[in-house]
């Protein structure tokens, strides 16, 4: 990867690493629901989500739901202590028989690796790549029980292929999340089931940007590659679909991103 490209990507990343309030496109609760709708529209696996009160969430079976609670920093975080649920929470349904990629790696020794990007020159960049993308977050409390219904099939080649960091399925998820300016897919927010189907979860953090990352992307991904082909998934969205997925106040932002994405794709293809 060219030095200038990497620098540009890292600058964009740094500007949004922790969102300032004015950089948030929408409330994380709303974003979580919109993210699930977006994945559904694109045919990407996702977790069913619903909004309810903290009191209502306490009545849900913790073996079937993960509760995401609002916090003072404006985020939406998984919370495993019912007495600490916020007034409004998002309940994210367990995806039956699916596990995070980090769980797959830790318990079954299967992982998708990550790219070496000028490892010497970009030491800390490489660290972040393997720390965030490859290793993922610490496991949730009781993870082994929660994910006990995942059974690794005897034949694992499809799973191994699907979780590879540059598999078509992974790249399509990256494209979808990037279009929505959501946090990057990593080994804790991507799940896989025994049929090698991938699921994208955790869509609460969305950033408002000028769209420079879309220009950088299309200026740098070569047409004719699997990576470029994966970007087409966003082009399958209609503006009407975008207006139905995202709340009215933010639909204009996403329509503009869709137009920019399509313009770049057509120009580069």
């Amino acid at each position: 990867m060219k030095h200038a490209t990497m620098m540009a990507a890292l600058k964009i990343e740094r500007d949004t690493a922790v969102l300032r309030p004015e950089q948030r496109v929408m409330d994380p609760v709303v974003a979580e629901l919109a993210g699930a709708k977006l994945m559904a529209a694109l045919g990407i696996g996702h977790a069913y989500c619903k909004v309810l009160s903290g009191a209502g969430a306490r009545r849900l079976d913790p073996r079937e739901w993960i509760i995401k609670s609002e916090t003072e920093d404006g985020g939406l975080h998984a919370c495993y202590e019912p007495e600490k649920f916020s007034q409004t929470v998002v309940a994210s349904a367990k995806v039956p028989g699916a596990v995070p990629l980090s769980f797959l790696r830790e318990h079954f020794g299967i992982d998708g690796g990550y790219p070496i990007i000028n490892a010497d020159e970009w030491g800390s960049g490489t660290w972040s790549m393997n720390g965030v993308i490859f290793k993922g977050k610490p496991a949730m409390p009781g993870a082994e029980q929660f994910f006990a219904d995942f059974v690794l099939p005897a034949e694992t080649s499809a799973i191994r292929a699907a979780v590879k960091w540059d598999s078509p399925g992974m790249l399509r998820i990256h494209a979808a999340r990037l279009f929505a300016a959501m946090t990057c897919a990593h080994s804790s927010n991507i799940l896989i089931d025994r049929d090698a189907r991938l699921y994208s979860i955790d869509h609460a953090d969305v950033a408002r940007t000028s769209g420079e990352e879309i220009d950088l992307l299309f200026a740098s991904v070569r047409p004719g590659t699997v990576a470029f082909d994966s970007l087409h998934i966003v082009c399958t969205l209609s503006e009407l679909a975008v207006r139905e997925i995202f709340p009215r106040e933010t639909a204009g932002y996403y329509v503009q991103r869709l137009r920019k994405w399509r313009r770049n794709f057509s120009r580069a293809a």
Partner: protein, 62 residues
């Protein structure tokens, strides 16, 4: 996990703590990385990229 029983949606144990890192000291706070997808998609289209499957020495640098 914090002592509040809350798992941040971002936050990674052993993240670097600044110094001369080109990444700011933000990993481990309330947000995740938004645009690593740009890097990954570009790298995926780069014929010269290589894949590694270990922790890249992350533990030593943490």
């Amino acid at each position: 996990m914090s002592d509040m029983g809350v798992l941040p949606t971002g936050g990674y144990a052993g993240a670097p703590t600044g110094g001369d890192s080109i990444m700011p000291n933000t990993i481990g706070k309330s947000s995740e990385c938004h645009f690593w997808a740009v890097v990954l998609l570009i790298a995926a289209g780069d014929e010269e990229n290589e894949t590694r499957n270990d922790d890249g020495g992350a533990q030593n640098r943490a």
